[in-house]
């Protein structure tokens, strides 16, 4: 199979984004490049939530060997930094100069500056989802203008020197949750507050884990992110009747033990606890919307008797379901 090589310095401005699209035969619809040809199928969306801040969402499947060469930016241009989140890290091959960069579930969040030379390639025939954020030094300094002294001191080396930065970090649980939200929503249709809040959250999280010594639980195993998200979806669709863990594990092609372990790593709680929480949140929502009897809600959620439902509801929310119905305005 022939290799396709594409060289670029950035994809932030209109011209560079458009020429990327043209090269791979994509068509531009609003902020999204759509690909449907023998090279790639899928979408690349670019947004600029703030001046000097860009977000790109890659949902693609490539059919040919593509190697993207990110060339170092000229020394005269403003320093930019970037974060890339690889949600299916095993599909990516990364190089800095000729040095291979580890890309796996422990190393799936790339931090780089625009003076770095990087090569990206991805396994063909496998759909992937990745998010990348780029920001100028000015944007970053504005955001962190009132940061504490220790934080500024920790950040300085990254901003002052012209030294090339390339480092890999693991995604945190918070990152996974935010990335999942971005994955689910058609981001070009979202309001600017949603996009901005999610991008800020990812950037803040990143610098916190780098400079503030915030140690999230490290993933001890290769996280099968997509499968765990599917499990959460299956649970949400079956809030009336608890689906068996074995059946879910079979459905997503995982062993029960790794399903339980990985679910807890991503969501920070066991499947059963997560399921009951979702069920109780739904119960509360149903009570507000339908204002029907407690018994009816209990039955709709698969409880034979109202009492175990009420007990669980109180344990979760701290007040009884009847209190919602009794809430009055005098």
């Amino acid at each position: 199979m022939n290799e396709i090589h594409y060289e670029f310095r950035e994809l932030d401005n209109d011209a560079s984004f458009l020429s990327f699209g043209e090269f791979f035969g994509g068509t531009l619809k609003n902020q999204t490049l759509c690909f449907d040809n023998e090279v790639a199928k899928g979408e690349l969306t670019r947004l600029e939530p703030d001046k000097g801040l860009w977000l790109r969402k890659w949902s693609l499947n490539v059919y040919q060997n593509i190697i993207l060469h990110k060339l170092p930016a000229p020394a005269t241009t403003e320093k930019k930094l970037g974060l890339v989140y690889f949600l299916d890290p095993s599909l990516f091959q990364l190089k800095n100069q000729s040095r291979k960069i580890k890309c796996n579930s422990h190393h799936n969040n790339l931090f780089y500056c625009n003076s770095a030379k990087l090569n990206f390639s991805v396994t063909t025939g496998q759909p992937f989802y990745a998010v990348d954020i780029a920001f100028t030094k000015t944007w970053l300094l504005n955001q962190f203008a009132e940061a504490s002294d220790p934080f500024r001191m920790a950040m300085e080396p990254y901003l002052k020197t012209n030294k090339e930065i390339v480092s890999m970090q693991p995604c945190t649980i918070e990152d996974y949750k935010t990335l999942h939200e971005l994955e689910l929503s058609p981001i070009e249709e979202q309001d600017s507050l949603f996009i901005r809040s999610r991008v800020y959250s990812l950037v803040t999280n990143f610098f916190y884990k780098c400079f503030c010594g915030v140690k999230e639980k490290r993933m001890q195993c290769a996280i099968q992110y997509e499968k765990i998200m599917r499990v959460a979806g299956i649970l949400a669709e079956n809030l009336q009747k608890y689906p068996s863990i074995k059946a879910i594990a079979r459905e997503v092609n995982m062993s029960v033990s790794s399903l339980l372990r990985q679910f807890k790593l991503i969501y920070g709680k066991g499947i059963n606890e997560y399921y009951l929480e979702k069920k109780m949140e739904l119960a509360k929502k149903m009570m507000y919307e339908n204002r029907t009897t407690v018994k009816a809600i209990a039955q709709a959620l698969g409880y034979k008797q109202a009492s175990p439902f009420i007990e669980r509801f109180i344990k979760h929310h701290g007040f009884s379901p009847g209190k919602i119905l009794k809430t009055s305005f005098e």
Binding site: K285, V294, T327, F329
Partner: protein, 272 residues
Amino acid sequence: MNYSVDHTISFEKLTNIFTEKGDNLFILRPEIGTGTLSIFNLEKGLRARFWNCEFDKAVQIHNGNGHGKPYFNLAFFSKCDNLQLESGHKHFKGVPVWDTVFISSSTIFNIHIQPVARVQCLGISFSYEWIVNNLLNTSQAFLYFEKKLKDLNAEPLLGSMTVEDKKRVADLVIGCSKKQLELFHIKSAVLKITSDFFKKVQSQELVSLQNCAEQHTLDIRNFFLANDNGFKPDIKTLAAHFAVSESTIKRYFKKQYGTTLSTYHRSNNKHN
């Protein structure tokens, strides 16, 4: 409902019951209670207030007169023992069921803090321009949002946080009062909480006081329509069915039918 009040203050002059300590931090005056209020101007048109206070005195905080530029207040109470909220003549007894309140600068709204009250709250204020620039002008999905903002002038919008959200707010309030958080972290968290709230508004997951009362009367009407076969429930049965007090059901019934339940049954008997 009458409350004894030691101090009355408007939202605009809220800091008067605190002593400024610098660095966005205010300490509650000792004669009123203990605790802190942290205020952060996060960006143009967006301000966050973090309360973590214990009140020994009764304080009434009332909303301003609605003059000047319109703005909005969104409050998340992660702790609100001994707190009563009031809008016009309606006293809102839902706490802790209703722990999220969204009002405009024109909403008639009071908070009654009774001794001894523990208040942990994140209050977010934003200008109309801020909403326009961040929401209304940026997505088709918020086309009808403007009407909801106008409705706020008459009634507050109420919501209820999930347990996870409540914990997030509590962590943020405690982190701010202990000065453990960087400003960008606060800004990022506040933007996320605000965005999630607006999504809830958009998906109609919140209720207004008006809607809630209307819903009760509508429920009663539907109940009678569905049971129009000679079934004559008494007040006790109806109260049990709708899980509200007998006096509440009497009031809603009168509002819907303009008469008492017994008169209603009697006139139906004559008619039949």
